[in-house]
């Protein structure tokens, strides 16, 4: 097990090096550097002045030297300085990650139990009316990306509710106040959480359903049934534990997928989190911030992959690591 984890860590570090090098290369392409110079410096600079500006700030040094420079900084815990926010990246990233962490916490806490419940209810009696309607619901949810459900939910819960029941019943269509002094309230946080949870829910529910339906046809369930165990006990005590192995991996692998959702939802509801930082960094070609964002998101992806692999082995004793 230890050598497995060590080998995986080695691959992880290699992956991160390659990917950050790619991001560094792309964000340092000449047109991008010119854009940075124009937006950060003076809009009306001539070509010669742009060259001068880039030279002064060391942007024209060879790629390898600059990447090594950046890498050296990262190893020492220095992620650089954000040109967009005029702040050290580490400080900014900390704030933003904390804000996104809060969003993710609420998304997970609503999405996972709901999805598992739907999946188990649909999968325990395959082919019934409940199964069919819940399956259609989850197919519908996977067909509704955040930018669609966000619009629909906003129209219903923010504008129409306000028209029908009066302003106090309407949810806030912007989550900007959640990072301010007001903090997270149901009113400003329900819409982003709902929007994100809805898209991810269907996928987990379908995986749970498939896994549950498969377990319910297993020999040991039939044995339990023949012994006279009640249906409720079969589901809760016998089937559930085995049926939840596959969804566990799916939930862990949802994290990287949720990142796109985070970016969409945060820019849609104007919530100052990690996703919005990524968008702002990319739009302004804020190289240091962009590098830190990609480092953080790639790290999240790789760590969740590792956890899901280890957890899978742990949950499923039939799998042994070579």
């Amino acid at each position: 097990m230890l050598s497995f984890i060590l080998r995986r860590l080695g691959v992880m570090i290699l992956t991160m090096l390659v990917l950050t090098a790619v991001v560094f290369f792309l964000s340092n392409l000449e047109p991008n550097l010119r854009k940075l110079a124009l937006s950060d410096g003076n809009m009306r600079m001539t070509d010669a002045q742009i060259e001068q500006w880039l030279d002064n700030r060391g942007y024209n040094r060879p790629f390898v030297v600059r990447y090594a420079d950046w890498l050296g900084g990262v190893v020492q815990g220095d992620l650089g300085f954000s040109t967009r926010f005029k702040k050290p990246v580490l400080e900014l990233l900390g704030e933003r990650l904390a804000a996104t962490g809060a969003l993710m916490f609420w998304v997970m806490i609503t999405m996972v139990p709901l999805a598992l419940l739907i999946g188990v209810l649909a999968g325990m009696r395959e082919g019934t009316g409940t199964d069919r309607s819940l399956s259609v619901l989850s197919i519908g949810s996977t067909a509704t990306p955040e930018y669609v459900s966000g619009i629909i939910f906003t129209v219903i819960f923010a504008s129409l509710f306000g028209e029908w029941f009066g302003k106090e019943w309407a949810l806030n269509g912007s989550a900007a106040s959640a990072t301010g002094s007001k903090g997270i309230t149901f009113n400003n946080f329900a819409l982003p959480v709902m929007t994100m949870a809805f898209y991810g829910m269907g996928y987990i529910a379908r995986m749970t359903r498939a896994s549950m339906a498969e377990v319910m046809t297993a020999q040991y369930i039939r044995t339990a049934r023949l012994k006279g165990v009640s249906f409720r006990n079969i589901v809760v005590k016998h089937a559930l534990r085995n049926a939840l192995i596959a969804p566990f991996t799916v939930i862990m692998l949802q994290f990287p997928w949720l990142l796109t959702g985070v970016v969409i939802v945060e820019s849609m509801f104007n919530y100052k989190g990690f996703g919005l930082a990524l968008v702002q960094a990319a739009e302004n070609n804020d190289i240091d911030l962009l590098m830190a964002c990609s480092l953080a998101s790639v790290a999240v992806v790789l760590i969740t992959q590792l956890i899901s692999d280890i957890g899978y082995v742990y949950l499923n004793p039939r799998i042994r690591v070579k």
């Binding site: 010119r34 990287p256 990142l259």
Partner: protein
């Protein structure tokens, strides 16, 4: 014209009438297919389940809408600007005598253009790019996934590492870096297109060569066809250098297309690799090996046909996913011109105004959702039918 704003009943009735070519085409295609469903194989079996019919209906509806978009859309989606129609509510009459149609059925957008026409025209870009890009991604994924699963060993390790590399990249970040006006000034999109678009040609060459290597008369004709046709499409699509000037992609579209193929291929690669690992243990593969067949014959003519069920289902799902991806790109304004009637872009434009008017964002949002829903339902029906066999 001094007409009043019409109600939702007549709005939908009028929209229904405007869609007449779609209804006619749908009636013909679905009617004939339904009557002949027993002889149409897997496609015919979709008609056995209600959900499959609904899914197919939604997909075909948008396919025909895209085909007949110019007939259906009453106004010009980009230039059809009419005074007084800015943010008009659905069903507002057009106060202009030269207008080609009396009403803005689904209202007007922020620049006084018809939301209905923009929705109809917007389906064209999505339905042109999403299926084509997905099929390209499948070709790439299959061409690399088969040898990875079949040979294993070092080939597998290297290819899997590369695939995982792309998969670990957050999609949205990749798009922000790859689909920018800046990158179009560099040779990167063209270089990526040159590599990615070469793979389908390699695929077809191997496909025919592995089977007909012993029959040169047939082989030469097939290879000539592949190389002439493939080379023609290749020069047109990747380098915009079609000698006949028929096939071509503007740099914008090429940029989106290549990026979408690039992010989709690794997932397809993983699926194909997994299927290959499973199928290569079957007896018929062992029989082919005993006969002394070459590896590529076994991969392309023994393993691939037996993996088609899951692959077709995944193709359907993945076209839906690509549609969502294209919407995401439009939503962030990446790779689309600001006036284009792209759905994602319209959603983003409309959502900024949701406090005053809801319909601008809601219409393209529902359009995109119904298309993806149709594809997902279709995939689900195909899965159930192929499991039955």
């Amino acid at each position: 014209m001094d007409a009043d704003i019409i109600g939702f009943g007549s709005i939908f009735a009028r929209a229904f009438v405007l869609f007449w070519p779609v209804w006619a085409a749908l009636a013909v295609v679905m009617g004939v297919s339904f009557a002949m469903r027993r002889r149409l194989g897997l496609y015919g079996q979709v008609y056995d389940s209600w959900l499959g019919i609904v899914g197919l209906f939604l997909v075909l509806f948008w396919v025909f809408t895209a085909l007949f978009a110019d007939v259906i859309a009453p106004f010009d989606a980009v230039e059809g600007v009419y005074s007084g129609m800015k943010k008009a509510v659905p069903g507002t009459p057009v106060a202009s005598d030269s207008a080609p149609y009396d009403y803005f059925l689904f209202g007007g957008d922020n620049l006084a253009r018809d939301v209905f026409s923009r929705m109809v025209e917007g389906s064209q870009t999505v339905l042109a790019i999403a299926p084509a890009a997905t099929i390209f991604a499948f070709m790439v994924g299959i061409t690399l996934g088969l040898p990875a699963g079949f040979y294993g060993g070092r080939t597998d390790t290297v290819l899997t590492f590369l695939a995982n590399l792309v998969l670990a990249f957050p999609v949205i970040l990749l798009f922000y870096l790859l689909v920018t006006p800046g990158i179009r000034e560099t040779p990167i999109p063209t270089a990526m297109a040159a590599v990615l678009f070469l793979i389908p040609i390699v695929f077809f060459v191997m496909f025919f060569y592995s089977r007909y290597a012993t029959r040169p008369d047939v082989l030469y004709i097939q290879l000539a066809c592949v190389i002439v046709l493939g080379g023609w499409l290749y020069s047109g699509l990747a380098f915009n250098l079609d000698p006949l000037g028929i096939v071509g992609m503007d740099p914008n579209t090429l940029n989106i297309f290549v990026s979408v193929v690039f992010v989709n291929s690794p997932t397809v690669f993983r699926i194909v690799r997994g299927l290959t690992l499973d199928i290569k243990t079957r007896d018929y593969v062992a029989a082919a090996q005993t006969r002394g067949e070459r590896p590529w014959y076994i991969m392309l003519w023994e393993i691939l046909p037996n993996a088609r069920g899951p692959l077709i289902v995944d193709l359907c799902l993945r076209i839906g996913y690509t549609t969502i991806l294209l919407g995401t790109l439009g939503f962030f304004g990446l790779g689309v011109s600001p006036e284009s009637p792209d759905w994602g872009l319209s959603i983003n434009e409309g959502r900024k105004l949701w406090r005053s008017v809801e319909h601008i964002a809601l219409v393209p949002a529902l359009a995109l959702m119904s298309l993806v829903l149709g594809l997902n339902l279709l995939a689900d029906a195909l899965r159930e039918q192929s499991l039955k066999d």
